[in-house]
C-alpha cells in the first residue's frame, strides 16, 4: 500500500513537471481563486497568519528563502549564496544585487534588519515573531528587553550575517508568508496594509474589498524572462459549489476541490486529465487526553487505532481525497518511514488489547469536533459503530472551528479530531511530541516519552540532514507505537486547472499557493485571457 501511495505522490510530481515543459509563452491574464474566505484581512502580509493572504505574498513579496516544491525543500531566494560557520549557527548571505523593490529601492541588508525587527516588534504582536525567534537575540527583542536583535549584522549593503540560536535549517522559518522582506525606506508603515510594496514578480494594482486583488507584471523582477503573465486577478471564492460552476464555465483558471467535486471531476472527460494532486503536510487525527483515565494506557490508544477501518472511511466519506496515515510525519516528509506499516484494522486485536488494559467491557468518551467534512463530526459519526463493536461508546461534541482551537489549547477535552501541520520541516513537526513543548503550544496530547526526547534532542544537534532525518524517523516511529492519537489520514490536496494553464507545481505545504512567476498561458486560452 505504501509503495502505491509513494508512487501516487511521484505521479503528482510528474504531472507538474510535465506542465513545466518548454514552450513558455509570455502574456495573458490568470484568474486565480483564493478559496479560504470572502475577504483578505490585510495586504500587510507580515501581519497576517492566514493562508488567504499567502496568495498575495506569492505575487508581490519575497523572503530570504522560498519553498521549492519540486525539490521539496526550502531554497535561497534573495541571496545568491551563503556561507555557514563550522558550528552551523552563523550564516553569511551574499544578497542578490539585481533585486529591486516595486518602489525602485534596491535590496540591501538594511531591508532585512528593518523587516525582521518590524516582525518581532512586541508592539505589533505579529504572527511571524515566533519564526524570527530562531535568530540570536530575537527572544530578548520580542520581550522588549533589547533595542536590537543581536544576531543580525550588516557587513555591507550586499552582505548580511545572521547568527541563529542553534545549528538549525533557517530555510523553514524564513520562507514563511509572515517573514517576507519589506523596503526600509517607507516612512508610513500603515501604508503596507493598503499599498503593499515588495520584491516579487508582480506589482500591486488594485484591491476591491471582498472581491479581488489585481497585480501586474513587474518589469524589473530579478529573474530574467519572468514572469510570463501580464496580470493576475486573485478572486475571492469561498463557496465550493460556486467555484465549481465558475470553473466549468471557464471564468476561473484553477479551483481547489473538495471530496465530492474530486469524485465528480475524476469521472468526467475534459476535467479528469487536468487534476493536480499532492500529499499535503497535514495529518488528520483524533488526539487523546491522557488526563482521561482510559487514555493513560497505551494499549487502549493502540486498540482504538486497530478498531477503526481508516481506509474504508477514506474511501466512502473522504472519496479517496486522502492517504491513510501510518504515523505522524506525512508521505511528503523527508523523514517519512515507508517501511513502517500502519495500524492494521483488526477488531479482535483491539478487543484483546482493551481486555489486557482492564477495559474488556469498554468505556465511553467524548470527541470534540468541528463541522469539517473531512476531519470533523461526520468522521466521528463514521467511527462510532466501529468502536461500538469493541465495546467503546463515542459521543461527538460538536463545536465551531474557533471553539475547537480554544478547547484543545486549554486542554479542555477528552479527545478531539483535527487536522494538524506535520511538515514540511520534520524537526519542527515532531516538536509537538517533545515533552518540553507546552500542551497549549502544539503538544495537544500532552505526550511525554524519554526515549522520544533523547532522539529528538540528538536530531536537534545533528547537522547532517540524512542523519537528522534518520533520528527523526526513529522518533516518529516511537510516536506511532505509543499512539497518542488515532492516525487517520494525510490530506490529498487536489487542484483542477484549465488545459491552457502551465507551470503549476505540487506544493505539499499548500497546493493552493503557487509560484505565479512560473505560470504561463498557452495559445488555446480564451481571448479574454491571452
Amino acid at each position: 500500500m505504501l509503495k502505491r501511495l509513494t508512487l501516487a505522490a511521484m505521479l503528482s510530481l510528474s504531472v507538474a513537471t510535465g506542465a513545466l515543459a518548454a514552450g513558455e509563452r509570455s502574456g495573458g491574464t490568470l484568474v486565480f481563486t483564493a478559496p479560504y474566505g470572502s475577504s483578505f484581512a490585510t495586504l500587510d502580509v507580515q501581519a497576517s497568519p492566514n493562508t488567504q493572504e499567502e496568495f498575495i505574498t506569492q505575487a508581490i513579496h519575497r523572503g530570504l528563502y522560498s519553498w521549492n516544491s519540486i525539490e521539496n525543500k526550502p531554497v535561497l531566494e534573495l541571496a545568491d549564496s551563503e556561507e555557514v560557520s563550522e558550528d552551523g549557527t552563523v550564516h553569511t548571505y551574499h544578497l542578490r544585487k539585481n533585486a529591486v523593490f516595486h518602489n525602485g529601492k534596491p535590496l540591501t541588508a538594511d531591508d532585512f534588519i528593518y523587516s525582521y525587527k518590524r516582525i518581532a516588534n512586541p508592539k505589533n504582536a505579529f504572527p511571524g515573531a515566533s519564526f524570527i525567534a530562531v535568530i540570536k537575540g530575537a527572544e530578548e527583542f520580542i520581550a522588549g528587553k533589547a533595542e536590537e536583535i543581536s544576531g543580525l549584522k550588516k557587513i555591507d549593503d550586499n552582505t548580511l550575517e545572521i547568527t541563529y540560536t542553534g545549528p538549525i535549517n533557517p530555510g523553514f522559518p524564513l520562507m514563511q508568508n509572515t517573514t517576507v522582506i519589506y523596503p526600509s525606506n517607507v516612512e508610513d508603515e500603515s501604508s503596507f496594509a493598503k499599498n503593499p510594496v515588495g520584491l516579487g514578480a508582480f506589482v500591486f494594482k488594485e484591491h476591491v474589498p471582498g472581491s479581488q486583488v489585481v497585480v501586474e507584471k513587474f518589469g524589473k523582477y530579478y529573474e530574467e524572462g519572468k514572469p510570463y503573465l501580464d496580470r493576475i486577478n486573485i478572486v475571492l471564492m469561498a463557496e465550493d459549489a460556486a467555484r465549481d460552476v465558475a470553473f466549468r464555465n471557464k471564468e476561473i483558471d484553477v479551483s481547489i476541490l473538495g471530496p465530492t467535486q474530486y469524485q465528480a471531476y475524476q469521472g468526467e472527460e475534459g476535467l479528469k486529465d487536468h487534476l493536480l494532486e499532492v500529499a499535503e503536510v497535514y495529518t488528520r487525527n483524533i488526539g487523546f487526553n491522557p488526563a482521561f483515565e482510559p487514555f493513560k494506557d497505551k494499549r487502549v490508544r493502540q486498540a482504538i487505532n486497530h478498531a477503526i477501518n481508516a481506509p474504508l472511511i477514506i474511501e466512502r466519506l473522504v472519496k479517496n481525497k486522502a492517504y491513510p496515515a501510518s504515523g505522524w510525519l506525512p508521505l511528503s516528509s523527508p523523514a517519512f518511514d515507508k517501511d513502517k506499516a500502519a495500524y492494521a484494522f483488526d477488531p479482535e486485536k483491539a478487543k484483546a488489547l482493551l481486555a489486557e488494559a482492564g477495559y474488556a467491557d469498554g468505556f465511553e468518551f467524548e470527541v470534540t469536533a468541528s463541522p469539517n467534512e473531512s476531519w470533523g463530526v461526520p468522521i466521528v459519526e463514521a467511527i462510532l459503530p466501529m468502536l461500538k463493536k469493541v465495546g467503546i461508546t463515542v459521543k461527538p461534541k460538536p463545536v465551531e472551528s474557533s471553539a475547537l482551537g480554544d478547547a484543545v489549547t486549554s486542554n479542555n477535552f477528552q479527545a478531539f479530531i483535527w487536522s494538524n501541520l506535520s511538515g514540511p520541516d520534520p524537526l519542527n513537526a515532531l516538536r509537538c511530541y517533545y515533552s518540553k513543548t507546552a500542551q497549549s503550544a502544539c503538544n495537544y496530547a500532552s505526550y511525554a516519552s524519554p526515549e522520544f526526547d533523547k532522539l529528538y534532542e540528538a536530531a536537534q544537534q545533528e547537522r547532517d540532514p540524512a542523519k537528522q532525518n534518520d533520528l527523526l524517523r526513529q522518533a516518529n516511529n516511537i510516536v506511532q507505537d505509543d499512539a497518542p492519537v488515532w492516525f487517520f489520514n494525510y490530506n490529498k490536496a487536489v487542484m483542477a486547472y484549465q488545459p491552457w494553464i502551465h507551470g503549476l507545481v505540487p506544493n505539499a505545504t499548500e497546493l493552493a499557493v503557487q509560484p505565479y512567476d512560473e505560470i504561463w498561458i498557452d495559445e488555446n486560452a480564451p481571448d479574454a485571457r491571452k
Binding site: S38, I142, G210, L236, L421
Partner: protein, 311 residues
C-alpha cells in the same frame, strides 16, 4: 407631522440600545476567540505567546463589565471599534462593503416591485384566470424555494448552460454581474409582493365604495387608478418596507454564494473567526437599516393615509 416624525425617530433609540446590549452579551458568552481561530484550520501550530499578546492587545483579558462600558462609551461616540483581523476601523470596513450591499438590495427590490406588483394587480383583476393561477403558483414556489438552491440553479442555467451572464463576483461593478444575485435575492419579495398585492386589490374591489364608483358610471380604468390602486397602496407599502428592511440581512447567503462583496459576507467571515467588533458593528448596521426603513414606511403611511397620522 413633525411631532409624529420625531416620535418615530425617538422610538428607534431604545431599540438600538437593546440590540447593542444583546449583541454584546451573546458574543461575550459564545465559545471561541479570535486568537484561537487563527490556528483553527490546523495549518500552523498554536502559539501561546501570540495568543496572550493578541488577547491583551484587544482587551479580551479585561473583566466583562469593563469591556461593556468601553463598548457602550465608544458606541455613544459612533465609534464601532477596530477589527481584530484587519486592525482597521470597523466603520471603514463596513463603508467599503455597504455600497455593494445597497446596490444588491436596491436592485433586488426594484426587480421585485417591477414584476411582483403588476402581476399581483393583474391577477386580482382577473381572479381565476390562467394568469392568476400561474402567478399564484409562481408566488408559492418563489416563497418556498431555498435561496441558496435557487442561486445555484440560476448559475447553472444562465452562466453555465446559456453562457449569458457571469456566475460570480463583482467584476468591474458592471450590471451584468449584478443580475444573477439580484434576481435570486429578489424572488422571495417578488412572490410576497405578488400575493399581497393580489389580496389587497381583491379586498378593495369588493368594498362598497367601488360599487358606488361603478354605479356612478366611472370607467373601469378610472376606478382602478383612483380608488383601487390608492387603497391597496398601504398594504403594498407595508410589504415593501418590511422586505426592503430585511433584504440586507437576507443577502448574507446570496453574497456568500455569488462572492458578492457586501456586508453579509463580511459578517459571515467575522463570525467564523470571532472578529467581535466587526460582528457587532455589522449587525448593528443591519438592524439600523431595518429600523430606518420601517420608520420611513411609517412616515409614508401617514402621507398616504391621513387616518394613521390622526391615530
Amino acid at each position: 407631522m413633525l411631532r409624529f416624525t420625531l416620535r418615530r425617530i425617538l422610538q428607534v433609540i431604545p431599540t438600538v440600545v437593546v440590540v447593542a446590549l444583546l449583541i454584546f452579551v451573546i458574543f461575550s458568552v459564545v465559545p471561541g476567540t479570535f486568537a484561537a481561530s487563527l490556528f483553527a484550520d490546523g495549518k500552523r501550530a498554536a502559539d501561546p505567546q501570540m495568543i496572550a499578546r493578541l488577547n491583551e492587545e484587544f482587551g479580551l483579558n479585561k473583566p466583562l463589565m469593563e469591556r461593556f462600558v468601553t463598548y457602550v462609551t465608544d458606541l455613544a461616540q459612533f465609534d464601532l471599534g477596530t477589527s481584530f483581523r484587519t486592525r482597521q476601523p470597523v466603520i471603514d470596513l463596513i463603508g467599503d462593503r455597504m455600497g455593494a450591499s445597497l446596490q444588491l438590495a436596491i436592485a433586488a427590490m426594484v426587480f421585485a416591485l417591477v414584476v411582483g406588483v403588476p402581476l399581483g394587480f393583474l391577477a386580482a383583476l382577473r381572479p381565476g384566470s390562467i394568469l392568476d393561477t400561474v402567478t399564484m403558483i409562481g408566488a408559492v414556489s418563489g416563497l418556498s424555494m431555498p435561496q441558496f438552491w435557487l442561486g445555484l440553479l440560476m448559475m447553472y442555467l444562465f452562466a453555465l448552460q446559456l453562457n449569458w451572464l457571469p456566475s460570480f463576483g463583482y467584476g468591474d461593478g458592471s450590471f451584468r454581474n449584478l443580475i444573477l444575485p439580484a434576481v435570486t435575492l429578489g424572488v422571495t419579495p417578488l412572490a410576497l409582493l405578488a400575493r399581497t398585492t393580489r389580496a389587497g386589490v381583491l379586498d378593495v374591489l369588493n368594498a362598497d365604495f367601488i360599487r358606488t364608483a361603478h354605479s356612478k358610471g366611472m370607467s373601469e380604468m378610472k376606478v382602478v387608478r383612483w380608488h383601487v390602486a390608492r387603497n391597496a397602496l398601504v398594504l403594498i407599502v407595508t410589504t415593501v418596507g418590511l422586505q426592503f428592511g430585511s433584504l440586507i440581512g437576507q443577502a448574507v447567503v446570496i453574497e456568500k454564494l455569488f462572492a458578492w462583496p457586501g456586508i453579509g459576507s463580511l459578517l459571515v467571515d467575522s463570525v467564523a473567526i470571532r472578529d467581535i467588533p466587526v460582528v457587532q458593528g455589522t449587525i448593528l448596521v443591519i438592524v439600523l437599516w431595518f429600523l430606518v426603513i420601517n420608520t420611513a414606511v411609517d412616515l409614508i403611511y401617514a402621507a398616504i393615509d391621513p387616518r394613521i397620522k390622526q391615530e
